[in-house]
Subunit: 202 residues, 2 copies
């Protein structure tokens, strides 16, 4: 420690520092949205939470809509990557484990943050098209992962809708977990529907 004369900050290339700042802002934005909702989430609040100046935050994200849609997308991508990493062998997994992991996407801070953004978008004209487009993109990616991991053959009639319905259920289970810890009930529902799904997909 004592022998280091160049501060850490100067040894990190500028581009990497910029990327690290951006990432800190995105993570702070999701946490802020999850905790305080849309009304309590501004660029200033997020900049302070991330330890970044308001000017630097606005350099990365010119508008509030830019910051929060980018944040939800960033964390959704992180979670998609983590979900695929959980099942490195792809299809042919224990379907109940896959259903549990899919349902888990809709609990926790990301889902809370996304839900706040979604609900705010339903009443705000500036936000609506951005969030609609974001949700469609994230939804398509989640559907693709679900099809892969469940080994679902979408060329068979009804299979596409079976997977879609499962993801709708996962979203509804996430909503049921918003105000109370619904883990016990959710586990029982997941066990039952994973069994029904297994029959439907084979």
């Amino acid at each position: 420690m004592g022998g280091v004369t160049t501060p850490e900050r100067e040894r990190v290339p500028k581009q990497d520092r910029s990327r690290a700042t951006r990432q800190r802002l995105l993570e702070a934005a999701v946490a802020c949205l999850a905790e305080h909702g849309w009304a309590g989430s501004t660029v200033s609040v997020v900049a302070e939470r991330a330890g970044v100046s308001r000017g630097a935050a606005q350099h990365h994200f010119p508008t509030r809509e830019d910051l929060f849609t980018a944040a939800v997308e960033y964390v959704a991508e992180e979670r998609s990557t983590a979900l695929r990493a959980l099942f490195p062998e792809g299809a042919g997994q224990d379907r109940r484990a896959v259903v549990t992991a899919l349902v888990d996407l809709y609990t926790g801070p990301l889902f809370r943050a996304a839900l706040h953004l979604w609900v705010a978008a339903s009443n705000e004209d500036q936000l609506r098209p951005r969030v609609t487009e974001l949700e469609a993109r994230v939804g398509r990616e989640t559907h693709r992962i679900a099809v892969d991991l469940l080994g679902a053959d979408e060329s068979r009639p009804g299979v596409r809708e079976t997977v879609q319905g499962l993801l709708d259920m996962a979203r509804g289970l996430g909503l049921a977990n918003l105000l109370t810890d619904d883990t016990g009930r959710r586990d029982r529902v997941v066990a039952q529907w994973a069994a029904l799904l297994d029959e439907a997909l084979d």
Copy 2:
């Protein structure tokens, strides 16, 4: 008309007028919540929309929380009654029609209003216990109706969770309909899952 000398207002007993005022306030509150969200929904805004003085509104509902939780409960009860009335013969109905009617509970202004209240409650300590309790009560009643109309025998293992999962899916489908008209996709998902449910319940 010309011969009527007593104004309509005076011929209606005071108690009925009070009930009518209350009902106008409840309906205005749900509409306001659905359109403007929690942040834009105050007792004053609702009173004006209902054509009632602020004082009269506060006589019926001393706090903002009282007004909006009562409003969501009132409309939920109306919808439950309407749902039972759709199937006066109870169980043994066409299950797809029942599933469609259940899913319909989670689209439209009531669901939007309830969702706003739900999401606001997740960040507001005054609101959370009220909404948690309300949702539990409304959820139990909806579950009871679903079991009756689907002719589900809950003494059989898994049947309770099957019905619960269906209602979770209905809630998730409601969420998917918030920003865009999801009717086409929803109809296909409902058709498929009604068929899976039919097998699971028989």
